[in-house]
Subunit: 442 residues, 2 copies
Amino acid sequence: MTKELRVGLAGIGTVGAGTFDVLARNREEIMRRAGRAVRIEAVADINTERARQITAGRARVLDDAFALVADPEIDVIIELIGGYGIAKTLVLAAIAQGKHVVTANKALLALHGNEIFAKAREAGVTVAFEAAVAGGIPIIKAMREAMAANRIEWVAGIINGTTNFILSEMRDKGLPFAEVLKQAQALGYAEADPTFDIEGVDAGHKIAILSALAFGTPLQFEGAHIEGITKLESKDIRYAERLGYRIKLLGMTQRRSMGEGKEGLELRVHPTLIPAARLIASVEGAMNAVWVKGDAVGHTMYYGKGAGAEPTASAVIADLVDLARALDGPMEQRVPALAFQADQVRVLPVLPIESIESAYYLRIQVADEPGVLADITRILADQEISIDAVLQPEPAEGEAQTDIILLTHRCVEGHVKRAMASIQALTTVLAPLVMIRLEDLS
Amino acid sequence: MTKELRVGLAGIGTVGAGTFDVLARNREEIMRRAGRAVRIEAVADINTERARQITAGRARVLDDAFALVADPEIDVIIELIGGYGIAKTLVLAAIAQGKHVVTANKALLALHGNEIFAKAREAGVTVAFEAAVAGGIPIIKAMREAMAANRIEWVAGIINGTTNFILSEMRDKGLPFAEVLKQAQALGYAEADPTFDIEGVDAGHKIAILSALAFGTPLQFEGAHIEGITKLESKDIRYAERLGYRIKLLGMTQRRSMGEGKEGLELRVHPTLIPAARLIASVEGAMNAVWVKGDAVGHTMYYGKGAGAEPTASAVIADLVDLARALDGPMEQRVPALAFQADQVRVLPVLPIESIESAYYLRIQVADEPGVLADITRILADQEISIDAVLQPEPAEGEAQTDIILLTHRCVEGHVKRAMASIQALTTVLAPLVMIRLEDLS
């Protein structure tokens, strides 16, 4: 195993703390994947007291982010300060020092990305930014790498959780925007100053980044058309619903032929009616989703949590692991075939089906007699299987038999099999039982 | 730009032809992303006539795949032969010759992956297989790279399009399995011998691969519990529906604590009830979707076409671009910041909002008088805007005004703005018009 990747963390707010926690908690699995340890060597934050609480002696704490940049012990800087001021100076200083940068700062990249990436290229370092768009959803990786075969036609996304939460609430509860915004602030889904979210600026930063990745252009945020949701009335949400649509704040970018071989881009954020039947129309609350339409692959969708400490940390750390794998290691083995490094692959026994846990659907064809359901539920109780739902349709006209359908709570399959054998033996049971497993995927 | 990546294609059936076509069609964009040309140098197929038709003189045609392996002009072999026989021998021969391999062959990897990856490691070459699971969905990349921060809890997927198509049809049309299978075969959604699909074996191969990636184990297909959909009755689909569930053929793998610090795996494929409200329950027809639950990121979902010539080609070519970027290039710049190589980034003008095309929702508050709608539709017609739907709710009791809601077909926004100005000027229009854009994302 090569030497550890030494990381300096600038800004230990919500996402910074999440990154520190996840790296500590999953240290071993991350090492097994990366082929080397990924360690936060030092943390810089103006609130050194809070930083000390979170790091609890496991990393040096500094009050000056620029000291991280100067530190020869550090290979990579994670920038989680936010904004365009100090963050920009810091990122450029890190690049100048030959350090790689991982950032979640979409505003910085949308506005100054062209300059930053050019400097990084000159210095031969990477500026990674998976966390900048759609939190834990790996949309940057999908667009930069997975879509490489395609002429991308358009990208559309629900990429701001705050506004999607507000729109979901407005629809579900029929409340006006201002009232839902207050609730969202109380619940922590919207910031005290929510302007960037509700006016669509945050979504604009993100779609500007995705647009560049899709079409091979520089970042062109300044040309984007941006409308937020502040003027949206509940009335329009209701009318849209009656017509078969939902209203979402959509970021969209699309390539357009302008005739004579010329092309232009649409780059826009605005409330949008989407057919209710589309999968993306069902993305509710604080979840994010991005659609990418490629000429070869067709429609693909990526869905997950767009914000929050640990989902964002997941993206930050994925960038660190990419770096850890790329630096020093043999190139062909940058990404190990089975995700974990070959010497870290370990057998875990595959459990026999009787040992699995699931919920179960049972259909039992029975004589239409009193007491049958009681016999069955007694047998299930004896096997400690609890019942979630029972459906007993009326027997068809003139039929002396019917079906009993049971849904169980989660239990061990072996118990279900034993209960099924006992139920099958009842004289009132007229046909082989049907069993189908049930997963709620929660 | 470094020298081109020279590829040998073994097997030019549906996916092979798709790969050849997409590489040719998107040659320039792929080169702009990869930093070098990716060129199919030679194609081997027993049907040399068909191969010559597809390649049309743009690649050498051979009748012997092993001649590709021996060819010093070839860097990478794409294996699209399928099965475990010749395909295995070919892949091992390519590895022994120090050639990289890209394959879509899930059966081969599920059964012989441990041996193949070990040989590849010894030889210092890559065996890439994005196309082996879920076609155009980049689930291998997501799990190997994007999820690297997470302790993965479970993975569940609709990863066989044939069975998902059959189940969707059984539900929608209330038809029995055997009849829908026949239709699926007639439509080309099921093969003449559909055993591997309908018995769950194909899904088993795929979930075995995903399980290894999730948990850092070797491939353990032989332990999988596999049930297909052949015994599923329409009756159960209906009962499930009444209880609020849909039935899908799900591949699932889950880590389980066995007590005393020991762990085991669940690895299974079977028909499964899923709550109808879950996004994955709405994945219909031949589409695929995979859920990954990580401890940090939470739930993520990846959705797209699981099969077909060009979706699968998209994944094959993504693997080629990964190789093209990794070999020879400077390591830090393996994946260019903006997806395209820095010297290939080009401005595309961002269109002003008046030039975009969209459909539109218009709400117009009007006096409840005859002729108002006629005036409005005349103005829209004058701007060549055609109407998709009109909603005109009854005025509230005692009100002399009402709303007219219009959905337009797609048109240029400038025309809509002009029409809006004319409508606004009507004396029967009582309030500022509300306009919201509509996208069907098709």
